[in-house]
Amino acid sequence: MIKYILLVLALGGAAGYLNSNWARVVENVWVSDYLSSGSLLLLLFIMGITFGVDRETLAKIRRTGAKILVVPFAVGLGTVLGGLVAGFVLGINVVGAMTVSAGFGWYTLAGPLVGQLLGAEWGALGFAVNFLRELLTILTVSLTSRGGKYVPVAVGGATTMDTTLPVIVRYSGSEALITSFSSGFVLSLVAPFAIIALASLY
């Protein structure tokens, strides 16, 4: 699977680069917006079917219950603490490093928002940190899912409610759907507030 993912990702990257810098075959939004959203929604629909068909999933969720909210809480704390440590290690502004990490992988939010609050350079960092998180989640899911069903969810941060949900469910099974979705959902709600709050300490 990982071989195909890397190959298709590289193909897509090359196609996107050539299309915008060399010969424009299609408008960029057709692929990066319409095809992307369309395939995502179709995939979530299929994931829903797989989930609904499985007789045991509901019972498993009932057993776990509200405890499931522990996951996004732990991911949020871990992420910001990781940003703090990285700030020290890199010798850059520690609050800035925490702010960029608080996108939790949602790079289309973190890039522009951090850019507005702390300037273009931090914005670029916010974009890159969170984009790399999404990429890492997809590329390593076959490995991280072996460490337990919550590990890929922890790696994915806010992305586990949409873009990385399908790959996580494919590897961790349909019972991971609710954990993954709810964790990503909570972190997506928290991300803008966390970024703004941390940036105000800068």
């Binding site: 996107g16 680069y17 929604l41 996951v71 990781g82 940003g83 940190v129 984009f131």
Partner: protein
């Protein structure tokens, strides 16, 4: 977009539930694989066609990798620890 996301998930779950009651066997792994590849392709395409993103990656890439890896590492450790604390199976 959130509405569409939740909508397609719920529509799928309802359909899956109905199929289960009708005792039909459903194997969607091939379709899933194909659509995941479409999604990955469009992700690659968005990266390749986004000059701002490519520029920011080459400028701040090393620092970004470090922040990202530590953020992810601590997330995993915290989730593992919390999972043991509240006994998430």
């Amino acid at each position: 977009m959130l509405l569409y996301i939740v909508g397609s998930l719920i529509a799928g779950i309802v359909l899956g539930y109905l199929l289960q009651r009708g005792k039909r066997r459903v194997d969607l792994s091939r379709v899933t694989f194909g659509v995941i590849m479409l999604l990955i392709f469009s992700l690659g395409f968005s990266i390749g066609s986004n000059d701002d993103l490519l520029g920011s990656l080459s400028r701040v890439g090393a620092a970004a990798v470090m922040i990202m890896l530590l953020a992810v590492g601590f997330s995993v450790v915290f989730v593992k620890a919390a999972g043991r604390l509240v006994r998430l199976d």
